[in-house]
């Protein structure tokens, strides 16, 4: 699960990480009040940031034609005018796709005077099965590009999960980032806080880009998380009720939310051949084989090991609500499940949804002969596939 920048900053702040003061606003009035409070507290410049789960906001364009999802404002009036141009409008960035996302929340925050931009992230290192901190002097840019062109500019520190991050490791990272020694104390506190956030929230990634050396009003320097992105481990959400409340369903694809209600794992793609498969690996392989024979898969759909009649029916409804779909391939390896039970599920789902597009079914495993008989005698115009390759060729041929 992903959360918004303002929510990420809230979690970081709870763990002692310095973030610019600000407030999430869902209305123009709230934005006005927040701006007034920040100016009253002595800020001379504010930043107003669109809250959507996608990067590239600053360079994005609203469908209204208004440029930029992030703006600097010098007065309450300017904040209000800018908020009016952003709130409720659809922002298109390089990551949203052409459909864009509606901006329902704005983060109104103090605009820091940035001296230097750095990069910081904590994530799981799959090679060691341990958390790893990645930091770079090259902040505010695409870190994948830095990793590609100048990998020496990324420092990595593996954390022993039995101990957590030790202060010396934070100091080591601070030194590698060439921070002035006057900032070592603050940087250590921030790094420890970012790691604590990662671990205690069961995050899969915490990314601070940019992490900034900032100049305070009294001209001293400080360090702050100017942007923040947190992704969470879905498997661990059951033990974080407070974080679960941060879920924004408007940011997720409606069909994927619907699929989740039936324990179906569905991901929409852009092709026209839908597939319904049991098992994640087989589901991926089914998409691949459709492509291999010249077709284009419309989705990933894993109905899990059980594949009950209710699940299969729900899966058909979800598949068919994608208007691009021109044919369906059902590929089930009935290992423990009986193929006849699955066949009955497919038949009843096809009838219930008044299926009118080609359907190819490939069943294998337990009671496969009875299953095929049920399909053949169902009165449905379905095509039987003998192997995965045979089934894929058949569906590609008829779509």
């Amino acid at each position: 699960m992903n959360i918004h920048e303002y929510q990420a900053k809230e979690l970081l702040a709870r763990n002692g990480v310095n973030v610019p003061s600000g407030k999430a606003c869902k209305s123009i009035e709230e934005a006005q009040t927040a701006a007034q409070a920040l100016f009253d507290a002595g800020q001379s410049m504010l930043v107003i940031k669109s809250q959507i789960h996608a990067g590239g906001r600053g360079k994005g364009t609203f469908k209204s034609g208004f440029q930029g999802g992030v703006h600097l404002c010098k007065s309450v009036e300017e904040t209000v005018e800018t908020a009016k141009a952003m709130l409720g409008e659809v922002l298109v960035t390089k990551q949203t796709g052409p459909e864009g996302r509606e901006v329902k929340t704005l983060l109104v925050a103090s605009a820091e005077k940035i001296v230097k931009e750095l990069y910081l992230a904590v994530l799981l290192d799959r090679n060691t099965s341990k958390p790893i901190v990645m930091a770079s002097t090259e902040g505010g840019v695409d870190i994948e590009e830095v990793a590609e062109k100048t990998p020496e500019k990324i420092v990595k520190e593996t954390i022993d999960p039995a101990m957590g991050m030790m202060p010396y490791q934070a100091r080591k990272i601070a030194a590698a980032l060439n921070l002035p020694s006057s900032l070592t104390g603050q940087a250590t506190k921030l790094l420890m806080g970012v790691y604590k956030t990662f671990w205690s929230c069961d995050a899969s990634m915490v990314e601070i880009n940019p992490l900034c050396i900032v100049e305070n009003v009294d001209e001293t320097q400080g360090i702050a998380a100017v942007d923040a992105k947190i992704s969470l481990d879905d498997n661990a959400l059951y033990r974080h009720k407070d974080i679960l409340e941060m879920r924004d369903l408007a940011e997720e694809a409606p069909l994927e939310i619907e699929a989740g209600k039936f324990d179906l794992n569905y991901i929409k793609l852009h092709g026209n051949i839908a597939c319904l498969v049991n098992g994640a690996g087989l589901a991926m392989a089914t998409m691949d084989i459709i492509k291999h024979y010249g077709g284009d898969p419309a989705n990933f759909l894993d109905v899990g090991g059980g594949a009950s009649r209710e699940q299969v029916t729900a899966a058909f409804k979800i598949i068919l609500s994608d208007p691009n779909v021109k044919g369906i391939l059902v590929n089930i390896f009935g290992g423990i499940m009986q193929c006849d039970v699955i066949a009955e599920g497919v038949v009843s789902a096809a009838k219930e949804t008044n299926l009118s597009i080609p359907l190819v079914v490939r069943l294998e495993g337990n009671n496969v002969e009875i299953g095929k008989k049920i399909l053949n005698e169902s009165g449905l115009e379905l095509i039987s596939g003998d192997s995965m390759a045979d089934a894929a060729k058949k569906i590609v041929a008829v779509v």
Partner: protein, 296 residues
């Protein structure tokens, strides 16, 4: 011989009184596997199906029955604890079937396994089957959730991150009259106990394994590591398949570990690594067995 388990292996089922664990313990018994004990805290003293004693702790089950191997069917919030209980009791092998364990729990388990004698397979895996020589391969050792009857005793080793793709490969082999030494599902999570490479090394050392099918998928770099080792060390023919060529980057494809992130873990890179290592790559999952048999 076979790897990891033999028909004589004495198996314990953690979570035997749950519906999932109970159903598969029953199927393993029907397959002829030696299910000698069950563990469910608070239900010690009961018997499962009138023959398998249930204990409160793994340590008690070990002391009373001499079990060396556990199958974990415990729900996700309690699964890491169940694995560690098996480690503490000195089991040789723990096979964790449970899907949906928090990643941080597995990070801790993996750390605790350092220096211990226990090998963990999984989590989020179909388990292990060493086929027997009875009807439909019965009399073998079935730990987990794989359908027993699709197997056949023989000399091909199968290792995979995916359950149903493993069944697909096994069934293709069996339908061609070719049996398997042992089939190992290592699981689809980003942190698991045993890697492709660990299993490949065991197959390489097993005199009864004459050829290997290795099935991988997008995410991580375990397949690449295994391929590099195979190139320099493996004495046996290997066929491979990688799922996820069409998976969009940045999305988790069902398995928690099946994700291309930051341009890493792509199917293309893995297939290339296989080819460089001399592994025969199946273009489609329908050809896994045929591709191996061609080079046997």
């Amino acid at each position: 011989m076979a790897i990891l388990v033999t028909p004589e292996t004495k198996v314990l089922v953690q979570g035997i009184t749950g519906s999932f664990g109970g159903r598969h313990a029953q199927l393993s018994l029907e397959y002829g596997s030696q299910i000698v004990a069950g563990v469910t805290p608070g239900k010690g003293g009961q018997t499962f199906e009138d023959k398998v004693p249930v204990f409160d702790t793994v340590a008690q089950a070990v002391a009373e029955t001499g079990t060396t191997t556990s199958a974990v069917f415990v729900p996700p919030p309690f699964a890491a604890d169940a694995i560690l209980e098996g480690v503490d009791a000195g089991l040789d092998l723990v096979v964790c079937i449970t899907e949906g364990i928090p990643v941080n729990d597995m990070v801790k388990v993996k750390r605790a396994l350092e220096g211990s004698k226990t090998r963990l397979i999984g989590p989020n895996c179909p388990g292990i089957v060493t086929p027997g020589d009875g009807k439909q391969s019965s009399g073998g050792c079935r730990i987990g959730i794989a359908p027993g009857y699709i197997h056949k005793k023989g000399n091909i080793g199968v290792v995979s991150r995916s359950g149903t793709l493993t069944y697909e490969a096994v069934w293709q082999l069996t339908c061609r009259g070719v049996g398997q030494s042992t089939c190992v599902g290592i699981g689809g999570d980003p942190v698991n106990g045993t890697s492709h490479l660990d299993v490949i090394k065991m197959f390489n050392d097993d005199p009864d394994t004459h050829g290997i099918i290795m099935i991988g998928e997008i995410g991580g770099s375990a397949e690449e590591e295994a391929a590099a080792w195979i190139r320099d060390n493996c004495k046996k023919p290997v066929a491979g398949f990688i799922a996820g060529t069409t998976a969009p980057p940045g999305r988790r494809m069902g398995h928690a570990g099946a994700i291309v992130s930051g341009g890493k873990g792509t199917a293309e890179a893995k297939i290339e690594a296989f080819r460089e290592a001399g592994i025969q790559v199946a273009q489609t999952p329908s050809e896994m067995a045929d591709v191996l048999l061609k080079v046997m």
